[in-house]
């Protein structure tokens, strides 16, 4: 043990930790019939909620867990005003169905609660998709889209900082 100076071991260990700390790895990807993804909100627990359009023109809301498994999926024939919030406990989105437009709250068990206000339509922003808030990262990684260079559906991928 004494043959190798301690400072050399410390330097090697530091270099290894430093090298290991600086990397990006794709952890998983999701998407079978996605034509577009307009909004991504990280839930802070490694998963995210996303709003997009499917290849057959439907609006879709998906809540993915940290392994990229869909724990909630909802498809609509009509357009949407996107997601209002996402956390590890819930998501909230606006559905631009026939008036009155409503918000839908979904808990982590997938139970939906409709939020309505009499005589009002609830929307995230009057500008709709042009003003959707985005949150594409958490403390351990980020989300991005993979657009096929030839043809095929879009995938949303999770990348980690390691």
């Amino acid at each position: 043990m004494n043959a190798i100076p301690r400072f050399v071991l410390v330097a090697v260990a530091t270099a290894l930790v430093s090298a290991a700390a600086f990397a990006v790895t794709e952890e998983w990807s999701y998407g079978e019939d996605l034509a577009a993804v307009y909004q991504i909100l990280a839930d802070g627990a490694g998963g995210c909620a996303m709003y997009g359009i499917t290849t057959n023109g439907q609006s879709i809301v998906v809540w993915l867990d940290k392994k990229g498994v869909a724990q909630y999926t909802k498809r609509f024939a009509n357009s949407m005003y996107g997601l209002a919030a996402a956390s590890k406990k819930e998501i909230v989105y606006s559905n631009a169905s026939a008036p009155p437009m409503v918000f839908t709250h979904v808990d982590k068990k997938g139970i939906e609660t409709t939020v309505t206000v009499a005589s009002y339509n609830l929307v995230t922003s009057i500008l709709g998709p042009a003003a959707l808030s985005q949150n594409q990262a958490d403390s351990k990684g980020f989300f991005a889209l993979k657009l096929p260079m030839v043809s095929g559906p879009i995938q949303m991928a999770r990348f980690s900082y390691k």
Binding site: F22, A23, Y38, A130, L132, A144, L145, K146, L147, M149
Partner: protein, 159 residues
């Protein structure tokens, strides 16, 4: 005695109110920037920037809480903007010869190219260059000269 206490408390409240409602300039940044397209606060007093330089090239920049440039990347082409910025670094897109890729730059200024074979990597398909112009201690704004000249990015503090 009671009068003095009441006056002291009143003066303290006035001073606190004055302090809370103030705005001051912390620093400004100009360098070779001709246009600021995107500014995103990093939550620690600094920010990430997508800009056009005076020589026409597009750059990704990062400024620290003192307004010092701690990262610069000249894009090979254009960008759809910064996806995220924070303690871990910042991630932005580069749109050049396909496949389009992401650049991850850590807080020390090291950067990695992120690519995926057969795919272009992209942000969401929403309007790009989304800005985040504030954090808990202040905000960012641009000073545009009314005549010829370069713009500045200015950091304001809420005090």
């Amino acid at each position: 005695m009671t009068t003095y206490i009441v006056r002291g408390v009143a003066l303290g409240l006035v001073l606190v109110a004055l302090r809370v409602s103030a705005v001051s300039t912390a620093w400004s940044y100009q360098a070779d920037v001709a246009t600021f397209y995107q500014v995103i606060a990093d939550g620690a007093g600094g920010c990430g920037i997508i800009s056009i330089a005076t020589n026409g090239s597009m750059c990704a920049l990062r400024l620290n809480s003192k307004g010092e440039e701690i990262y610069r990347y000249q894009l090979a082409g254009t960008s759809y903007g910064i996806l995220t910025i924070g303690k871990k670094g910042m991630v932005f897109g580069e749109v050049g010869v396909p496949p389009y890729r992401l650049i991850y730059a850590d807080a020390k200024g090291q950067s990695i190219i992120v690519s995926s074979p057969g795919h272009n990597l992209f942000s969401t398909l929403s309007p790009i260059f989304r800005c985040q112009l504030y954090d808990k201690k202040g905000f960012f704004a641009m000073e545009l000269p009314t005549g010829p000249g370069q713009p500045k990015l200015v950091r304001y503090l809420n005090k």
